[in-house]
Symmetry: C2
Subunit: 182 residues, 2 copies
């Protein structure tokens, strides 16, 4: 049993499929034998700079807090408005279950009674997703290698087909949905 089973891993996995980003098993070969999905989590991703934050309400009404980070190559491209992203750019999307912060709410309720303010913070991590740019290696998927990891391990192969297709509508922004938050 994986650690996430205790908090509804099945539902989370289903949502991961629903939201349509990539899932990854080990390296998969395209017609030329080249890997088209990420099989390992890029090193140092947690120290990368912030691109933006976001939130996703899932089909069951639960909510995820999300942060999108970029490595130096990706951040430089964002700052310069450079498209397509150059080879070497990697974008990380970290997804947590959103949980109510009882500690924060206690403070807020005490200091400002009746104001109805509610604070939410990251709970357990759900999954992490990556897009790594290598225009030759990942030519078949817009130059991006997609990856989805849960508990540090690449997700099931059955999800991997959805990654690139779902990013197609963002083609004019090199298949990247996230914009830099000011």
């Amino acid at each position: 049993m994986k650690g996430n089973d205790a908090v509804g891993f099945s539902a989370l996995a289903a949502t991961a499929a629903i939201v349509g980003f990539s899932a990854v098993a080990s390296e998969h070969a395209d017609g030329n034998g080249a890997p088209i999905f990420l099989s390992e989590i890029p090193q140092g991703y947690r120290d990368w700079q912030l691109i933006a934050v976001s939130r996703l309400i899932r089909g069951d009404g639960s909510s995820q807090l999300r942060a999108e980070l970029g490595n130096d190559v990706a951040i430089k491209a964002y700052h310069e408005g450079k498209l397509p992203f150059p080879d070497g750019a990697i974008i990380a999307a970290l997804h947590w279950n959103e949980v109510s912060s009882e500690d924060n709410n206690h403070v807020l309720a005490k200091g400002f009674p009746g104001a109805g303010i509610q604070s939410f913070v990251p709970g357990l991590g759900v999954n992490m997703q990556f897009m790594a740019k290598d225009s030759k290696k990942y030519a078949a998927t817009g130059g991006w290698g997609f990856g989805d990891f849960t508990n540090g391990k690449p997700s099931a192969e059955k999800l991997m087909q959805t990654c690139f297709a779902c990013h197609q509508p963002a083609k004019d922004h090199d298949f990247v949905f996230t914009r830099y938050a000011p």
Copy 2:
């Protein structure tokens, strides 16, 4: 008229007061003539590393997406579990209005009809808040200098009294509420 007036600056300012973090005018003097609030936005804050994300539902039901960032000194202290934070640590809290992403929702609805998934992204910035540690300079407020900025300018002096008082319940964590998100 400030730029934010068009999107309800008054309500935002009121909320800033309600949530009880600091507001800042120019430098204020304590009994020794030392400044006790930040009068300028720390340089380079947007490139700092991510501590966590959060969300705040305000009294009017509207929602803010938030990111807490730390400079190198603050991040190192988080990683080492070092308390109190050493002098030089600065924590930034960036607050945006949460807005529905029609673009993302269009993709999600098309790819996964009926799933009821909703995407939210940062809209206009509301305000930015900072805590800067200098145990001597800001001795009167737990060693922290607080700052609140809207449209790049320090907020009204009337709010500044609430900063430290509201952080008191987090005294066991050196007056810092935000925990590092894994």
